[in-house]
């Protein structure tokens, strides 16, 4: 009895959580006439309240075609976002992976001192460093370029923490065995550390992708020209006539994140769970 109720509750919560996504997906397949009849009250036209049905009466790809073919802004913003996110992730691999390896292997007092600072910086909200980051970026004349979004994020300490957790699980005996066989530190890193920690590295990338694809605070402060904006801060101007396109726009900005989410769901799970190890600091 209790079990059935619990199960129903779980499913209820799950479906409620998915509802917004379903709304966007169905909305982007509806014709403009259908959408107009459903949600025009939202925009102060017509009486009563907006309605919805989850199976489009006349499903059409018109909105999606219109977005993909007739909306050049969408393209510009889409590629801006892709560029920024990919550059951040590549930079993080280059800098965070070695750093995580260093922290996981070092027993030096310096690393014991630095690691808590890394964790504190990981938790620091953007507000705190916004002003000074702006001044630093300004003095490097990077404001209003994509580098102003990429560089600070490359040195984010968050992936270091996640990857560190996966390196730490490598048993000491494996490393000792490699050392006895005469492997140097870089060899151990390259042939033992990276293959074993790969899961953790990929997990950090998946969590990072979802995070940076959704970046809002930085671009609204650091980027002034609209052509350099990201997909995540462009708000489709939704009104009765273009509601369909607005829905298609939303759907397409969710889609890349959703694909990464779906194919990387195991990694995402792992990446989040590694953050749960926060109590086992150095």
């Amino acid at each position: 009895m209790w079990k059935t109720i619990g199960k129903l509750l779980l499913y209820g919560i799950a479906i409620l959580t998915l509802l917004p996504l379903i709304l966007v997906a169905t909305g982007s397949l509806m014709g403009s006439g259908e959408l107009k009849s459903l949600i025009s009250p939202v925009f102060g036209e017509g009486d009563g309240y907006a309605k919805w049905h989850f199976i489009p009466l006349y499903p059409t790809f018109k909105n999606i075609v219109e977005l993909v073919l007739d909306t050049p802004e969408y393209y510009v913003l889409f590629w801006n976002s892709v560029k920024v996110v990919v550059c951040i992730l590549i930079g993080q691999i280059l800098f965070a992976v070695p750093a995580a390896w260093g922290f996981s292997q070092s027993k030096n007092k310096w690393s014991k001192f630095l690691f808590p600072i890394y964790i504190f910086c990981m938790l620091l909200p953007f507000q705190v460093t916004m002003l000074s980051q702006y001044l630093v970026l300004n003095s490097l004349s990077l404001i209003n370029t994509h580098l102003s979004l990429i560089l600070p994020m490359v040195f984010s300490t968050f992936p270091v923490f996640i990857i560190y957790q996966s390196f730490r699980q490598i048993p000491e005996s494996v490393l000792d065995a490699a050392r006895v066989d005469g492997a140097g530190n870089f060899q151990i890193f390259r042939y033992i550390g990276i293959p074993i920690g790969l899961q953790g590295i990929l997990a950090a990338m998946v969590v990072g992708f979802l995070e940076y694809w959704n970046m809002v605070e930085q671009p609204i402060v650091f980027i002034k020209e609209k052509t350099k904006w990201l997909l995540s801060i462009y708000l489709p101007n939704i009104n009765t006539d273009n509601a369909g396109v607005a829905f298609a726009y939303s759907f397409f900005s969710i889609l890349p994140a959703l694909l990464i989410f779906w194919f990387g769901r195991k990694l995402l799970e792992q990446g989040v769970m590694m953050q749960g190890e926060l109590d086992n600091e150095k």
Partner: protein, 318 residues
């Protein structure tokens, strides 16, 4: 080779000296240095710089003590933002911890991966799409009000542009973070070995007793991680608030970041620096307190392998 070694200049000597010093240090720090340099430039120096500026007048380096702090604590917008942010945290964090714990226990026991991944989906939905959806759902004439008036015969509620906006913000935060929090609880849940529960069952413990005496005490690690992470992520709910209602939203959801953006546009550097420092110190204090509070009783922390299961069970039952 030998010939080269003899003709070492003082310059080369110094270089070999440095190399030797580096070698005598922990080699692994070399791996950290590139990341450390960037971190110092983009995070650490800005953090220190903000502290310094909070004691200076405007853009200049003229020291004027605590005046910036006095100004912000007499500023109505600042007080409003602080009160809203605190209110948000006091309401949201316990709610999130509680709801996600229930869900985590449910998912952990049923191993239901549909529910697990469904709850993670919001992590993938960008805030601007949330803004579009929320508009259609929660506008004065939106879908939720249709349901309220049509089915429940309640008067329509103005969600987005009234005190209720706060409610929507809380809901958004829960929706976005429930899956994430659930996973972190599950880290703790899966670390509790099954044989403790079995031992307890033999001793005649019911499921409620087991939950309160075994499960909860062994979740301290997760509790700490989750409270810290949720506290840090609660500052990010601004994204949704901003994209739903712009720079000047309803007073009830006027948050820190709104204020910062508005000050930033006016280049109020002194105020910004002081407010940033207040947040940083506040964060630091809260983190330290959380750690003290949660790990107060050192012995009943996360399950340790070195301890006998029965011993641990007995200890938790005391």
């Amino acid at each position: 080779m030998k010939h080269k070694k003899k003709s070492e200049s003082p310059e080369a000597n110094r270089i070999t000296g440095i190399v030797q010093w580096v070698k005598s240090q922990d080699i692994f720090l070399l791996f950290v240095i590139p990341s450390l340099l960037g971190m110092v430039v983009f995070l650490f120096v800005p953090l220190i710089d903000v502290f310094r500026r909070s004691f200076c007048q405007g853009v200049s380096n003229h020291f004027w003590g605590l005046k910036n702090y006095a100004i912000i604590f007499h500023n109505k917008s600042f007080i409003l933002a602080v009160v809203n942010t605190l209110k948000f945290e006091v309401i949201c964090l316990p709610l999130l911890l509680f709801v996600s714990l229930l869900v985590a226990v449910g998912v952990h026991n049923t191993k239901n991966s549909f529910v697990k991944y469904a709850l993670l989906v919001p992590m993938a939905i960008p805030a601007n799409s949330v803004a579009v959806i929320w508009k259609v759902l929660f506008e004065k004439h939106g879908i939720i009000n249709e349901i309220l008036t049509d089915i429940f015969h309640i008067k329509a509620i103005n969600f987005l542009d009234s005190e209720n906006a706060f409610l929507i913000l809380v809901l958004t935060y829960l929706w976005k973070n429930i899956g994430y929090s659930m996973l972190i609880w599950m880290v703790g849940l899966s670390a509790i070995p099954n044989n403790i529960y079995e031992a307890a069952s033999i001793d005649g413990a019911g499921s409620f007793v087991k939950f309160f005496k075994i499960t909860l005490p062994n979740l301290k690690g997760s509790l700490y991680a989750l409270s810290v992470l949720s506290f840090a992520s609660s500052f990010r709910v601004f994204r949704e608030a901003y994209l739903i209602s712009g720079n000047y939203p309803n007073e009830s959801i006027y948050l820190m970041q709104h204020l910062f953006n508005n000050w930033f546009q006016k280049l109020d550097i002194g105020k910004l620096a002081a407010a940033s420092s207040v947040i940083a110190v506040f964060l630091f204090v809260v983190l330290a307190c959380l750690k003290k509070l949660i790990f107060r009783e050192r012995n009943s922390g996360r399950y340790k392998k070195s301890k006998g299961d029965e011993e641990l069970y007995v200890e938790n039952n005391r």
